[in-house]
């Protein structure tokens, strides 16, 4: 096409683009308030006024609506533009005196006060009538829950008849897009807005519907929460797709089922934590400052919701007294968990130390039953928490946590001194039990792996084969087998990997010859044997004639997978399968010999 000149430089002219788009693409700053990439330009706020010269004459036009025509000359910061901009900012300051964003924007251009007085909406007003909320709701979401009401002085954003909107989907787009945070959703929607708790941040903060699950996610790309996403619920909104500069958002993606033939499987599905609500007397869920240890981890983390500062969830203040409770659920038959979760004594000591390093004047208390610190340097570590970081360890359990005078009173026992203690805590951290992942039994049943009453997966031998299962080729690693800490999980991972390599590295698979064999002549293909086989070793085999026509379908035992239990032999109705080494003939011979 041709070119036009902006601030002394030449740019490609394109009628389909606006001056603002070209400016933004080339790093020229033009302030806007009512512009949004997903919406057609509105020209409401007038902040983007630029001076456009045609020959000798010039006029001020909004850059957001003016096309980038060939041959024009644009000045984005001429004297005329700056004068107009400052006036507009004064008007905005008068309109929305309560908005810090407007004040900041005004200060950037040297406007600190306003000569105008017409504060028709009062000192608390922040709305500048830019219309972004109305247009987003109408054009992008397709809901139209709010609109403009009135004209002139009385113009405002409102719901129909001023009543709560029944169609508002509480998506929060209006509040998100408002440049001055003037929208309050609870004045619009009949339903209270429900933030989506961030799973990774253990519910301490909320997350949007399109989000990167956690900083180390692989692939490190955002995902869309289909259940809550407005596009998938109402079909309209495409804001994320509109703003993405790489055009990477694809709403049509579907779940894929991927099939792979593999020679070995390592199950390393990890653990879950017991719900903190298990002890109602500790007030989890009732008091926001009673949190789980994993939530405390997120508070301590530099990439967490508080940037690594320890703050109470209720009011954001730094807690001076933190009480840690160990054995929440673990070692408690009334909660049907009789095992020890192994990691809590050590991480609680770590928590007390990190807390003290971050809050120098803070005091940590730990209520414990026993201290289990059996690893390398573990005992010394716990002693350091007590001796160097001043953690006070109280051997006893806590009977109740309640609120009094704004503090959380933790009432427990100190069995070593024989006294009962009451501590006024600012924050309480519960070290909840490690449990198996929910639904792991379904995976275990599919794989043919046994599990115990706690749904931890069973190893082949507790001492001699800790990373193998009873099924050949399936190995275990990590907390899915039993509670354990990181060095142990890593060791098990290495062990499982080496077992797999040991399985794969020889040229041939060596195994005991006790395998099932099918007599294909007599097999009727009922596949009862397949139903009883715990390992899925019975396969379907088609017997075809020379021309490829199917004669019959029979069972066939996979000699690599069969473990030689013989359940199939006892089940076969046509006596067509036998176990080599323990054949019917052989056993009858033994019986006859008695």
């Amino acid at each position: 096409m041709g070119t036009f000149v902006m601030d002394g430089k030449e740019y490609e002219a394109d009628e389909a683009k606006t001056v603002l788009e070209v400016a933004r693409a080339n790093g020229i700053e033009i302030p806007t308030l009512c512009y949004h990439k997903s919406l057609t330009p509105y020209g409401a706020c007038r902040l983007c006024l630029v001076e456009i010269f045609w020959g000798q004459k010039s006029r001020l036009y909004t850059a957001c609506t003016y096309p980038a025509w060939e041959g024009m000359v644009v000045k984005t910061a001429s004297e005329k533009v700056m004068r107009a901009r400052r006036l507009i900012l004064e008007l905005l300051l008068a309109e929305a005196p309560a908005s810090p964003e407007i004040k900041e924007l005004a200060e950037r251009f040297g406007v600190t006060g306003t000569r105008f007085r017409g504060q028709r909406k009062g000192e608390d007003n922040r709305c500048i009538l830019c219309g972004l909320c109305v247009r987003i709701c109408q054009d992008v979401l397709g809901v139209s829950a709010i609109g403009f009401k009135g004209r002139g002085d009385g113009r405002e954003i409102a719901t129909p008849f001023g009543k709560f909107s029944e169609v508002c989907a509480t998506c929060g787009s209006c509040a998100t897009v408002c440049p001055t945070r003037a929208i309050e959703i609870d004045t619009i929607s009949i339903h209270p807005p429900k933030p989506i708790p961030s799973e990774f941040e253990t519910g301490l903060v909320s997350r949007p519907c399109i989000y990167i699950p956690f900083p180390q996610a692989a692939p490190n790309k955002p995902v869309i929460d289909r259940k809550n996403c407005m596009h998938f619920k109402y079909g309209a909104c495409t804001i994320c797709q509109d703003v993405c500069p790489a055009n990477a958002v694809d709403y049509s993606q579907q779940d894929e089922i991927v099939e792979e033939d593999v020679g070995a499987i390592v199950v390393a599905t990890g653990f879950d934590l017991l719900s903190d609500e298990c002890y109602g007397e500790y007030g989890y869920g009732k008091y926001p400052d009673v949190i789980s240890s994993l939530q405390f981890e997120r508070l301590l983390s530099a990439s967490g919701p508080t940037g690594g500062e320890v703050r109470r969830p209720s009011d954001g203040k730094v807690p001076e007294t933190v009480v840690f409770l160990q054995c929440i659920g673990s070692r408690d038959l009334s909660k049907e968990i009789s095992y020890c979760s192994k990691i809590c004594c050590m991480y609680t000591a770590k928590h007390t130390m990190l807390y003290k390093h971050k809050v120098h004047h803070g005091q940590a208390y730990v209520f414990y039953m026993d201290i289990r610190s059996g690893g390398k340097n573990y005992e010394e570590f716990v002693r350091r928490a007590v001796e160097e970081d001043g953690a006070i360890y109280l051997r006893g359990r806590v009977s109740r946590i309640f609120e009094r005078n704004g503090k959380l009173v933790v009432r427990g026992a100190d069995t070593l001194s024989g006294a009962s203690v009451e501590i006024d805590a600012d924050l309480v951290v519960l070290a909840t039990a490690m449990t198996a992942q929910p639904g792991i039994e379904k995976l275990a049943q599919k794989l043919g792996v046994s599990y115990d009453q706690y749904k931890f997966l069973s190893e082949a031998h507790p001492k001699l084969r800790p990373v193998e299962t009873n099924s050949a080729g399936i190995f275990l690693a990590g907390a899915c087998q039993a509670p354990k800490d990181i060095p142990e999980a890593v060791a098990q991972g290495s062990a499982a990997a080496s077992k797999v390599l040991g399985l794969f590295s020889p040229e041939e698979l060596t195994r005991e010859p006790i395998v099932a064999e099918v007599d294909e002549e007599s097999c009727v293909g009922c596949f009862y044997c397949q139903l009883v086989c715990p390992y899925g070793a019975v396969e379907v085999k088609e017997i075809r004639d020379r021309n490829g026509n199917l004669i019959k379908t029979v069972a066939s035992a996979n000699k690599g997978v069969c473990q030689g239990c013989g359940a199939c032999v006892a089940t076969c109705r046509s006596n067509s399968i036998d176990l080599q080494g323990f054949k019917d003939e052989q056993i009858y011979a033994e019986i006859n010999a008695l």
Binding site: G448, S450, D452, N470, S471, I514, V532, P534, Q563, G564, C565, G566, A567, V569, A570, T571, L579, F582, D584, I587, Y588, E590, I591, N592, L594
Partner: protein, 154 residues
């Protein structure tokens, strides 16, 4: 030799010093290992039980039991891993279910159900194995010789 078995009142055979012949079908991983442990622990128990080793109780065909009776056993003992501990995951469950049904057939055949005994013995339970053998041998001795098959052939 004094078999050490006791009963008040006795049948003809018992009076003659008859000893029961008991066939035990055991699983390799639990009961057989438990019996082995009883041996290495030098435990003393009744010698009348003859052990047939199988990979798993799930391998046991009910016909084995009938064959054992046919070939002169007076009693049969089936012993495997505890429920939940089967080395092959589910073999002992199959065995348990199978014999729930098989008992009806045994009844129909006229075999005294008390002659077929079941137990769970794990690889660590050497003492339990010895105890089970003693108890079963005592029970079968009290029931006397198994006449069923012989009478049919007469």
């Amino acid at each position: 030799m004094d078999s050490g078995l006791t009963l008040e009142g006795s049948s003809e055979e018992r009076a003659k010093g008859w000893e029961p012949k008991i066939t035990a079908f055991v699983c390799n991983w639990c009961t057989y290992a438990g019996a082995d442990l009883a041996g290495t622990s030098r435990l003393r128990y009744r010698p009348q039980v003859r052990v047939i080793k199988l990979p798993c109780t799930g391998r046991i065909d009910p016909l084995f039991i009938l064959k054992a009776f046919e070939r002169g056993s007076d009693g049969v003992l089936v012993s495997g891993c505890h429920p939940g501990d089967c080395h092959y995951t589910s073999g002992n469950y199959h065995a348990r279910r199978r014999f729930g049904t098989f008992r009806k057939l045994l009844e129909f055949l006229g075999i005294d159900l008390r002659r077929v005994q079941f137990s769970w013995v794990s690889a660590a339970e050497g003492a339990k194995w010895a105890q089970v053998v003693d108890e079963v041998t005592q029970k079968i001795w009290e029931l006397g010789p198994f006449e069923g098959y012989r009478r049919i052939s007469d």
